[in-house]
């Protein structure tokens, strides 16, 4: 369904002395129909940038994005607008994803109006969706500020369903919600995804959430994917030292390594400064992807070592 190859996004700043930041550097992945790929990483790892590039909310600097056989990067504005309805994004902050001057009903009705659904049918459709996402008809005339964050995120989901997309990018959809509400929204999202047969890119910094939501996971570290594979494989036998660090409950040894901003120098492994296994080769050569199991790939020089030697700390 979606195939991303060598995606790059470089942000530049400054006028005379340009400085660059490679937010996303050579990222490749694919998502099969009906599948959920989790993209996990810490803040600044480039995971949200990937999500936005994939549906061309921001223009990638390089690479190709094939969506259902269409090369998204080659499309001009009008052609892109025709594809857009089949891809939707769910953002972190539901309160700002809804127009504050529109009632919930109006917000959900908007896609139907764009699709030119007959006016007398729209209200019925909207009410059907409102119930589907666990809201009640009384919310139809409410404004976003009169609702809780969890309810607004439900309304956002209802609006997404109104568009009925093939593919959704969910960027930390529960980051601003309380845990008990987070569980509700994630369950709702899983149910709806299943029912509507949607394909999803799910972005989160929370590994436990990824584990529940996704079929496969890609771990990002400073603009690069370092490990990718089925959720079960990555969680049960994480291969990259960074993945291990994220998964372990222990804390990494306090090091005096300065964490350089941006992409640092192009040579070598980006994680080496924090890695307890780093060797000379990590300084000079960027690790290539190596397949270590069915669909499980990792970019680390040290994974050739026998398992016992690569346990973290």
């Amino acid at each position: 369904m979606l195939e991303v190859k060598n995606l790059k996004k470089r942000f530049s700043s400054g006028i005379f002395f340009k400085s660059y930041l490679d937010a996303v550097d050579d990222v490749s992945f694919s998502i099969a129909k009906g599948e959920t790929l989790g993209l996990v990483g810490e803040s600044g790892s480039g995971k949200s940038t990937v999500g936005q590039c994939v549906i061309r909310l921001i223009e990638p600097t390089g690479g190709t994005i094939m969506f259902n056989g269409i090369d998204l990067r080659s499309l001009n504005g009008r052609a892109l607008n025709r594809v857009r309805p089949s891809m939707q994004m769910i953002f972190q902050d539901p309160d700002s994803s809804l127009d504050p001057r529109m009632t919930i009903g109006q917000s959900i009705a908007e896609p139907f109006r764009l699709k030119k659904v007959a006016r007398n049918e729209v209200k019925g459709e909207v009410l059907r969706l409102i119930e589907k996402v666990g809201l009640s008809p009384e919310h139809y005339n409410r404004y976003p500020h009169q609702m809780s964050g969890g309810q607004n995120q439900r309304a956002v989901l209802a609006r997404v369903l109104a568009i009925n997309p093939l593919f959704i990018v969910a960027d930390e959809p529960t980051a601003s919600l309380d845990v008990s509400v987070q569980a509700q929204i994630l369950h709702l999202l899983m149910d709806l995804k299943r029912e509507y047969g949607m394909t999803m890119l799910f972005i989160s910094h929370d590994l436990a959430v990824i584990r529940h939501m996704c079929d496969r996971v890609a771990v990002m570290y400073r603009g690069k994917i370092v490990e990718q594979g089925p959720v079960s494989a990555v969680f049960e036998s994480p291969a990259h030292p960074y993945t291990r660090l994220l998964l372990s409950r222990t804390e990494e040894a306090e090091q005096s390594v300065k964490q350089e901003n941006g992409s640092g120098d192009a040579k070598g492994c980006r994680f080496r400064g924090r890695c307890s296994l780093a060797r000379a080769v990590c300084e000079t050569t960027e690790p290539a992807f190596r397949e270590i199991g069915a669909g499980h790939t990792v970019a680390c020089h040290m994974t050739v070592l026998p398992k016992a030697e690569i346990t973290h700390e």
């Binding site: 810490e42 845990v179 509400v181 569980a183 436990a208 990494e252």
Partner: protein
């Protein structure tokens, strides 16, 4: 009154008696804290857990008397024998920050963007330790080193925007401990931090508060498990369960607390139906009954009191009556 003072244990440093905090708003009266009784022993690390809007931050502010003037507070908080709500403003001002240090949530907003980090830490020393500005500076550098900010001499002269989120949190911790307070209140000290940074901050917090009393307000159970001796859970403005850390993590008694634990992604991601009530329109009877699958007729009409179940545990639920 719940006192879990037992022989051989430290005496309470903070005692909260029938504390009620209400504030009027345009929409109605918010009952932020409703009849809270609690004590924190000397040297104890108490975790106050709850979801947003349950009143946990208000409680932290209530101890510091940082609530707005329109807020109505009844009951009292006794700290080292002093009833805080009977003190005059000046004595309270002297105590605040000096005897009780506060690590506020959102370090980005609690640091002044136009002052250097060092000068903000030094302000605490000048104010509460009576140091001269010049002598304070060495102490500032020492403090920043203690919270493991690399190159403290240089970083002390930098502004907050030059600090990363984790480094800002460290600076705020340095400010909280600068006056060597006997007690520290940390309000969501790990909010918005990445996992790996969070672990470091938690360890640092533990390290700098050894032998100190700490109230840590958080919704993050990992943090509570790592740092706290005892855990108190709030729901809709009141305490619903208090237990020693081990017992709490092994078995939760209150249905809300059970649900809260199980709703966490690494503990099942099982949602609690419904939503927390607004503190303006609280349900009759038990405040959790509309969401509780074990609620009976009694829960709908009668409000449960805290029940002591032994072993230092208390729970506000008729199931244990």
């Amino acid at each position: 009154m719940i006192t879990d003072e037992r022989p051989g244990e430290n005496r309470p440093l903070v005692e909260v008696y029938s504390l009620k905090v209400v504030f009027p708003t345009d929409d109605g009266i918010v009952r932020a804290i409703d009849t809270m009784d609690l004590s924190i022993r000397e040297g104890e690390k108490l975790g106050l857990i709850g979801e947003s809007g349950c009143g946990k931050t208000v409680f932290g502010h209530a101890i510091m008397r940082l609530l707005e003037d329109t807020t109505k507070v009844t009951g009292n908080i006794v700290f080292r024998g002093k009833a805080l709500y009977s003190l005059d403003r000046e004595s309270m001002r002297r105590l605040r920050g000096k005897e009780i240090g506060m690590i506020l949530q959102n370090p980005g907003a609690s640091l002044n963007p136009v002052l250097t980090v060092g000068s903000q830490v030094s302000e605490v020393l000048v104010l509460h330790k009576g140091l001269k500005k010049r002598t304070a500076w060495d102490r500032v550098v020492g403090l920043l080193g203690r919270v493991r900010i690399p190159e403290p001499e240089r970083r002390a002269g930098e502004y907050p925007h030059q600090f990363s989120g984790g480094m800002k949190e460290r600076a705020v911790i340095a400010m909280g401990i600068a006056s060597e307070p006997v007690m520290i209140i940390a309000d969501e000290p790990t909010k918005g931090l990445d996992v790996t940074v969070k672990r470091k901050i938690v360890r640092l917090l533990k390290e700098v508060t050894v032998e100190k009393t700490m109230l840590i307000i958080t919704h993050d159970l990992d943090v509570a498990e790592e740092v706290c001796d005892r855990i108190a859970v709030m729901y809709a403005g009141e305490l619903v369960e208090i237990a020693p850390r081990g017992a709490m993590f092994e078995r939760q008694l209150h249905p809300y607390v059970q649900g809260f634990f199980q709703s966490l992604p690494d503990r099942g991601l099982k949602p609690i139906p419904g939503m927390s009530p607004s503190l303006i329109h609280l349900p009759e009877g038990c405040r959790f009954h509309p969401r509780c699958n074990r609620a009976t007729g009694r829960c709908r009409t009668e409000h449960p009191e805290m029940i002591d179940t032994g072993d230092g545990r208390c729970v506000r639920c008729f199931l244990y009556a």
